[in-house]
Symmetry: C2
Subunit: 296 residues, 2 copies
């Protein structure tokens, strides 16, 4: 019997809840039971944040990295500090209800409240079986570069554009995948107007140059990748050099290998980028993905 | 007794609904009864569109302009064509349930479906009493210019950035209001990286130079303003020249008067922009707003 997705809602700690233990503030719902108000700012304005975590045999991967990024995103949006213990407990409760599955994922969401009514934040977690990413992880994916429309230093110059925060306003991140499909590809690497490489719409870029592995500098409006942090840990422990630095667009063609990493699909090697073929090292990638899947 | 907000959900015309009249596909809910699934793409990705319409004594203003823009936004996001008759009927049904109020508004929303489950779109309308905008319409508002981070021609060069579509991904449009508040202002005019003026986060810019009224060219990633269309109609009927053209940032200081227009707040004169004081013509603005409020 296939596992059924689960939603866990979290009531927020306000005056009414003072002293109520976390466990009593969580509620489990069937996945298709509506839990969001029509005027929740998460939907009417995309005004909130999220994280997606991978779960292997009931163990959540990179728990702390995700919660830390969640808190950073909240701060960038000037949301009230999220109750990380409550989100941690919501994920665990959802996992226990999903049952015994090999690979699952959880998306947790935190929004500013109800438009024109209340600025008390709302939050919930959704837990489901992970889709099968075997093809993407082994054969690799085809991607294209598309401009994000910004110069490299935009996060410093204009923090109100929220580059580097994992917000619910992801319509552009979806639109670029449709543009990629038109170009016979399935993923995207964003570039800047001044010729630098950023990240994918839902992933971090990892480039290999000989024995050195490079990821674009997070300070420049690129999300800190939790799977990428795991990848750097794996690579360093295997004696490889790992470097954060600005990467020029023309360097993509010079890389020996490329990957897009995230918590759900893990490391997907690029077999083609903008029509250029790249070699896919299946053995190396499989080792990396095994590490990413079983790490705690 | 204050009117209570109303939510009207719309079931979509799929095979199960073939031949079902629009009226039978609408359902009225209390405003605080959740109607959105946890994994609705409207919330998890801001992947959808919306419109906000003003309602004066039960009559919806600019109905056709809003529905036309809604359809254009849907096309830009490659959403299935929205059933405009169903949305029109949902708004009317909500208005009838709200009861006899002078000024109301309705926000209607259309999303791509449920993430990882269904791409059948979801839609609903929310109807409530309008907040009191008397101060903003008469005394005027203070605004600041903030960069949108893009060059003027970005909509042509990179349509996947969805400039000019009214999407649910409005986190940036909210963040700039917080930045404005830090600068002792309450609204924003977006500028481009190459020195042009765009629009407000939820409004269209109207500049007066003598007898000529100017709005930045909609083709350049600026939303076609429905209240601004009404304003141009009013101005032309009073013998004023109305012009769409690109506007340089330095022209803001040269304007005789400035307004930000939208369907809910209508025309709000700018009394201050980036610290510079502007005259507010209360009589002229009142005439314009009377027209905008009573037009059909």
């Amino acid at each position: 019997m296939p596992a059924t997705p689960v939603v866990v809602t979290i009531s927020q700690p306000d005056l009414a809840h003072a002293g109520v233990p976390v466990a009593d503030r969580l509620r489990v719902h069937p996945f298709d039971h509506p839990v969001v108000d029509a005027m929740n700012l998460g939907i009417t304005r995309g005004d909130g944040i999220f994280e997606t975590v991978g779960i292997h045999r009931g163990r959540v991967q990179g728990v702390e990295e995700h919660l830390a990024r969640f808190a950073r995103s909240a701060a960038m949006l000037e949301l009230p500090e999220p109750d990380l213990e409550a989100f941690r407990a919501a994920v665990d409760l959802g996992v226990s209800h999903l049952g015994d599955v090999e690979d699952a994922y959880c998306k947790y969401v935190y929004t500013r409240g109800i438009e024109s009514r209340s600025f008390e934040p709302t939050g919930y977690a959704f837990i489901d079986v992970n889709p099968d990413w075997t093809r993407e992880r082994t054969e690799g994916i085809a991607a294209v570069t598309l401009t994000r429309g910004y110069p490299l230093d935009i996060a410093q110059r204009a923090p109100w554009l929220l580059q580097g925060a994992k917000t619910l306003s992801y319509a552009v991140n979806r639109a670029v995948l449709r543009e990629a499909a038109r170009r016979d590809a399935e993923d995207v690497i964003f570039t800047t107007t001044d010729g630098y490489v950023l990240e994918g719409p839902t992933s971090t870029l990892l480039l290999r140059f000989g024995d050195e592995f490079v990821t674009p500098t997070p300070e420049h409006g690129v999300l800190v990748g939790t799977a990428q942090l795991g990848a750097f840990e794996y690579l360093a422990s295997h004696g490889h050099r790992t470097t954060y630095r600005d990467v020029r667009v023309e360097e993509l063609a010079e890389a020996d290998q490329l990957w897009l990493t995230n918590s759900q699909r893990l490391a997907a090697p690029l077999r083609r980028l903008d029509g250029r073929e790249f070699p896919v090292d299946r053995t190396f990638t499989a080792g990396l993905n095994t590490f990413l899947r079983v790490r705690s």
